[in-house]
């Protein structure tokens, strides 16, 4: 029998200490791959850096609670988006936004100029972001997923829990709605 002596015991201990359990490593990888996307998704729908940070942290915290139980999650990234949608809906419910404020007049909560500067978003993009936020929530979702994150319809269908064809139609309608909003902006200037 060949002993594994060349790998010194100290090194083996060090490596064992550094190695995380498998599910933890998998979630760490999922976090790294998705944190920008989930944050962007929430920020675009909420419009506030602080609230987007809070909600994004909650999304991953809830995702981790499910993940650590070892429960099999078939589409982990779609699952995170689903949690994000629920968190956003709950946030607006808490703010009583859905019932009281018509979609068209929903205001951008935070126009932190420092943030805009940091993220180098031009005025044209700020306007686009604002117009996007005036759209119906489902329209916002599909536009973000399709044209900002570049997801295929199949994936959008998993996230929105709708058939792929419905998702496709929604994307087209949402784009049309956004184009009309953008045109309105031009006309009123």
């Amino acid at each position: 029998m060949l002993s594994y002596s060349l790998l010194s015991p100290v090194l083996t201990d060090l490596l064992a200490l550094r190695a995380m359990p498998n599910f933890k490593r998998q979630f760490a990888k999922l976090y790294d791959a998705q944190v920008d996307k989930i944050y962007r998704f929430v920020f675009l729908k909420i419009g506030s850096k602080e609230i987007a940070e809070d909600l994004t942290a909650q999304v991953f915290s809830k995702g981790w609670k499910e993940f650590r139980t070892g429960k099999k999650i078939q589409y982990p990234s779609a699952y995170l988006y689903q949690i994000a949608r629920t968190e956003i809906a709950n946030y607006y419910r808490r703010q009583d936004k859905y019932q009281v404020v018509p979609v068209e007049s929903r205001k951008i909560i935070d126009q932190d100029s420092n943030l805009e500067e940091k993220q180098q978003i031009t005025s044209e993009l700020i306007e686009l972001r604002q117009k996007l936020q005036t759209l119906d929530s489902d329209y916002q979702t599909v536009l973000i997923l399709r044209y900002i994150e570049g997801l295929p319809y199949k994936k959008i269908a998993q996230i929105t829990k709708k058939p792929a064809n419905t998702a496709r139609v929604m994307v087209h309608r949402a784009l049309k709605a956004l184009r009309e909003e953008m045109t309105k902006g031009v006309g009123s200037d």
């Binding site: 594994y4 083996t12 550094r18």
Partner: protein, 224 residues
């Protein structure tokens, strides 16, 4: 506005990204204390952390190479405990590779990006050879020990993925940093000599030779 332009503008909203420190701190809080310490180290002592991770990678290469390749033709004579140790070492190796990738992701200074290029490139090259050769040995193992064989192969595949992520991250960070620096320098008032260096940097950049482009950028910055 035409749909094409609208889609193009929507894509630009990808520029919205969370604060990196915030993202790290959330990850630390969620994944616990050990992770927190690792990333704290990474933030505070980035270069030392990188050197430590690369040293561990090199040690694992050396130890596994020594054991597997010079002493034995196949892994058949390994006991189950030896194979478990090998799998555990490969898992540790994967973690160290991921540490290096995380470090690369937060490196934004051209000089630092260039500094780690050589170390990381050689780790990738050695790592790829290491994985290929170890896989070859593992595949020759006795089929009756399929469970242990699969464990080692799965760990090797994860190491392979970690190496590939490290390679991609290295290249994309070099591209991002060089691209950003070039864009900034283009807006600056430059002397003829500096303009020449910038032209050379742009040429390298266009050819996808990002380390060379970064060298020109650093040279230019030193002349400013």
């Amino acid at each position: 506005m035409k749909d094409r332009q609208l889609k193009k503008n929507l894509l630009k909203l990808q520029e919205i990204k969370p604060d990196k420190e915030w993202a790290f701190s959330v990850k630390q809080n969620i994944l616990g204390q050990k992770e927190m310490e690792r990333f704290h180290l990474l933030h505070l002592h980035g270069q030392a952390f990188l050197a430590g991770s690369l040293a561990i990678i090199a040690l694992v290469f050396l130890a596994v190479f020594g054991t597997v390749f010079f002493k034995n033709n196949s892994l058949n004579s390994f006991s189950d405990v030896d194979l478990e140790n090998l799998t555990s070492s490969l898992r540790g190796l994967e973690t160290s590779l991921n540490d290096v990738t995380s470090y690369l992701k937060v490196t934004r200074e051209p000089a630092k990006v260039l500094e780690v290029e050589e170390m990381v490139s050689s780790a990738i090259e050695e790592g790829s050879q290491f994985v290929a050769k170890t896989k070859e040995k593992t595949e020759k193992m006795d089929p009756e020990r399929e469970g242990a064989r699969e464990e080692v192969l799965s760990a090797l595949t994860d190491v392979e993925v970690a190496l590939s992520e490290m390679q991609q991250t290295k290249e994309s960070i070099q591209q991002e940093v060089a691209g950003r620096e070039i864009a900034e320098l283009e807006k600056s008032a430059l002397t003829e000599e500096q303009k020449k260096l910038l032209g050379e940097a742009k040429e390298y950049f266009a050819q996808g030779s990002y380390p060379q482009a970064l060298m020109k950028i650093i040279e230019l910055s030193q002349n400013r």
